[in-house]
Structure formats: structure tokens, C-alpha cells
Amino acid sequence: MIEITDLYKEFDGTPVLKGVNATFEKGKTSLVIGQSGSGKTVLLKCMLGLITPEKGDICYDGRHYHSMTIDEKRDLRKEIGMVFQGGALFDSSTVEENVMFPLKMFTNMPYDDMLERVNFVLNRVHLENVNDKYPAELSGGMQKRVAIARAIVMKPKYLFCDEPNSGLDPKTAIVIDNLIQEITDEYDMITIINSHDMNSVMEIGEKIIFLKDGVKEWEGTSDDVFKTDNKAITDFVYSSNLFKKVREAQLKEKGA
């Protein structure tokens, strides 16, 4: 379990996270949603240790992140897989080299075993015959899948995804969502996804945390999202025309 207690972060005197509390359970896909600028990415980066919060605590299965030494933090990070918004693939390395990189750095596996593992995870994310391609030669969806393959190659305990669907068409986005969901179940990981995509909420959101202006405004399941009367979240959820129409239909049905 990952527990966040009273997390506070500010930039140049402007608070971005204002005392966020949350827990993320094992084997569950949790979504942190909210508008741009609500503090989602800062929250994720604080959890990963890329940004140091002013206040608060992050606890990974009983291990308090901010009281760890640099080496202990590095050891913890070996248990973390991360899918960045832009993929963050090493652009001068091939797909195979990208995915093999964590294995090379942290295991003593022979090359053939590493290659077998790389091919296994690439197949797992439905990629074939791309080993020798460079990231720039792949489509956005394929790059995201390579990033997922690299994130899971070390069988992590925790998987973080920052806007995994950004820049993807709706069909590919669903493929990526389902892939993350399947992998979470398969590896029994704690998966935390930053998103503002309501399709993702409906597809894979087992637990939803809604951030607004750096505050946790609401928490619940994907079913609860559509039932809640919380104005902030209903404004967010029904901001698209499609969902607005669904909401109108729902209200009409209620009224009838």
C-alpha cells in the first residue's frame, strides 16, 4: 500500500498541493483525475521523488520515503515502473536497448535471458518485429507500449503512468488502458494513473481521486463518479458534450 499524508508543495510561494491525503491499494488501478493545473503531475512527481514536497509523508509499504537515504531511495525506485506522458524513451537507443536497459543495469542475467525477457514483455504489449527500430520510427501508441514494456520489464511492485493516453486516438487509448489494467492484475501491482480522460475513468478506474486546485476534492469508484452530487466533479465529468448528453438523459430518466 502507498499512503500519502498531508502532502504540501508550493512553487515560488504559490501552493500547488495543499495537504493531500490518499491511499493506493495493491492490485488496484487508481486514477488521479482533475483539470490541467490541478496538481496531478506534481503529486505523481512528489511520489516518485522527482520533486521534494515542503510538508507531508509518502509511505511505500511501511517505508517512509523522505526519511530514506539517497541509496535507499534508489533501491526503492528499482521496484517502480513509470510510463511518462511523452514516453521518455532513450531516443538514440533501439526499442530492444530501451527495454533491456533496466535489466542490464540491475540484474546479472546472461544476454540471451535478457533478450527472452525483452521479447516476452514486447509481446505482452502486443509489439512484434520492432526490436531494431528507434523510437522516432514508431507511432505514438507504439511508443507508449514500448514505455509500458520498459516499465514492467523488472516486474515492478508499483506502476505510475502520467497521462498514458495523451495524444492518442480513442481506440488506441482504450487499448493502452486495457493493457495497463491487464498488467496490473497479472503482476498484482499498485497502479496509479494520472489522467483527465473520462474514457479511462470508465474503462479502468477502480479507484478515483479527484484533485481540484491542489486539494483532494473527491474520492470514490468509477460508478460513484456518475452518481455523485459533488458539483466540482460533476462540472469536470460533464464538461464534454457527449457526457453532458448522457447526464441529461440520466436526469430525464430520474425525473420520469
Binding site: R74, R77, I80, F84, A88, D91, P102, M105
Partner: protein, 235 residues
């Protein structure tokens, strides 16, 4: 920054591969331009020295002597280092800067890798240990270029030139030249790496960081050159 850079590499076998890759990218790929510049500048040094020695009583072998000393003491270690600060320094700053703005450095950190050690230490080792060889090549080709120019222009005969090259040779000047080179090589790896690593923003900021890196590396080399000369050759 340097404290993290000089930590023990996480995987020595992988680290060794990175050093060889950096030697190829930063060192071997620079030999061509260094050879070209050294050969022609060697020729120019000989022509200018010959043209400035107007007194017929001045022995011609001094042309070879003066050219050798200029090449060993200043041209090869300092001027070539400034040229490498432009070529290699901009490469280091822009490649690390691009990795920063595309979150590749964050990806390394999230994996539990000491990104400063992983990205910068192989560059420092490759530069510090390989650039002295580049400078020896530069000195050699500069002297050959001077000999060719002297012969082609008829300003100095082969015998006089080679006598000058051999006369009053001080082996410590080579040591001085290589000490300077190693220190400049360290600067060429670290100053641009610093500018690239801490860049914020996007493509334009990477470009600005690259320019800043070249300017500061050149300034540091010029200032260090003054102090090193005073320390190593001053009495």
C-alpha cells in the same frame, strides 16, 4: 553535482561500454577536424614565422624551433581545446539538455539510476584519457604541416626545419602540454554537462544552454591556461 558524478558506477560492466561509446562519440569523431586544422595551422605558423624573420643573419633552423614550441606550448593544447569546447561542448550540452526536457533523465532517476554519474562520468573519463592522444596527433600533424608548407613555399629547407625541430628540445614542455590538455578535457566534459543537465524549458532553452556552455567552457579554458602556465612554467 560533482559529488554525485564521482560515485561508484552502479554496474561496472555497463559503465565500461559507455566509456568506449563516449571515446567514439567525443574523441575518435573529433580526430578528423583536429587533424585538418592542425596540419594547416602548422603550415601557417611556419609561413608566418619565416616571413617575420627578415634578418638574413638569423639562422633558418629557428623557424622549425619556433613552430615546434608554438605548437607544443599553445596551439595544440589550448587552441584545439577551445575548438573542442565548441564541437564537443555543444554536443554534450545539447544531448544532455534534450534528455532533460524530454524527461529521459527523469526516467533514469525513476529507475533508480544516478543520472549524473551515468551520463557525465563516462564523458569525463573518455575526455581526460583520450584527449592527450588527440593533442599528440595534433602536435605531430602540425609539425608535418609546417614541414610541407616550408618545402612548398621554399621559405625553409627540410634540413633547416628538421634541425630546428630537434634543437633545444625540453621534454617537460610535452608534459606541460599534456597536463593542460587533461585539465581542459575535464572542463570540456563538466561545464557543458552542467549547463545541459540543469536546463529548464524546451528546444530553445536547450539551444541557449548549448551556447552558454561553449562560451563558459572557452572562458574557463583561457583563464585556467593563464594560471597553469604560471604554475607549471613560471619561475
Amino acid at each position: 553535482m560533482l559529488q554525485q558524478v564521482f560515485k561508484r558506477p552502479q554496474k561496472p560492466a555497463v559503465f565500461k561500454d559507455f566509456i568506449f561509446k563516449e571515446i567514439e562519440d567525443l574523441g575518435i569523431s573529433s580526430i578528423g577536424i583536429v587533424a585538418f586544422i592542425s596540419f594547416f595551422v602548422g603550415g601557417v605558423v611556419v609561413i608566418q614565422t619565416a616571413l617575420n624573420l627578415e634578418n638574413p643573419l638569423t639562422p633558418k633552423y629557428l623557424i622549425g624551433f619556433a613552430s615546434r614550441e608554438s605548437l607544443i606550448l599553445e596551439f595544440s593544447p589550448t587552441l584545439i581545446s577551445i575548438i573542442l569546447a565548441g564541437k564537443v561542448g555543444s554536443y554534450i550540452a545539447s544531448s544532455i539538455g534534450t534528455m532533460r526536457v524530454t524527461e529521459q533523465i527523469d526516467a533514469l532517476e525513476v529507475m533508480g539510476i544516478n543520472s549524473l554519474n551515468h551520463l557525465v562520468l563516462p564523458k569525463i573519463i573518455a575526455n581526460v584519457f583520450f584527449y592527450p592522444f588527440v593533442i599528440i596527433i595534433s602536435i605531430t600533424l602540425g609539425i608535418i604541416g609546417g614541414w610541407v608548407a616550408g618545402n612548398l613555399t621554399g621559405l625553409v629547407s627540410s634540413t633547416d626545419y628538421l634541425n630546428g625541430i630537434r634543437s633545444e628540445f625540453v621534454p617537460f614542455h610535452i608534459t606541460y602540454s599534456l597536463i593542460k590538455t587533461s585539465i581542459f578535457a575535464f572542463v570540456i566534459a563538466t561545464v557543458p554537462a552542467y549547463h545541459g543537465f540543469y536546463v529548464k524549458g524546451g528546444a530553445i532553452e536547450v539551444g541557449k544552454a548549448s551556447t552558454r556552455a561553449v562560451v563558459w567552457t572557452s572562458i574557463v579554458i583561457i583563464v585556467l591556461n593563464y594560471f597553469l602556465t604560471q604554475m607549471l612554467l613560471g619561475k
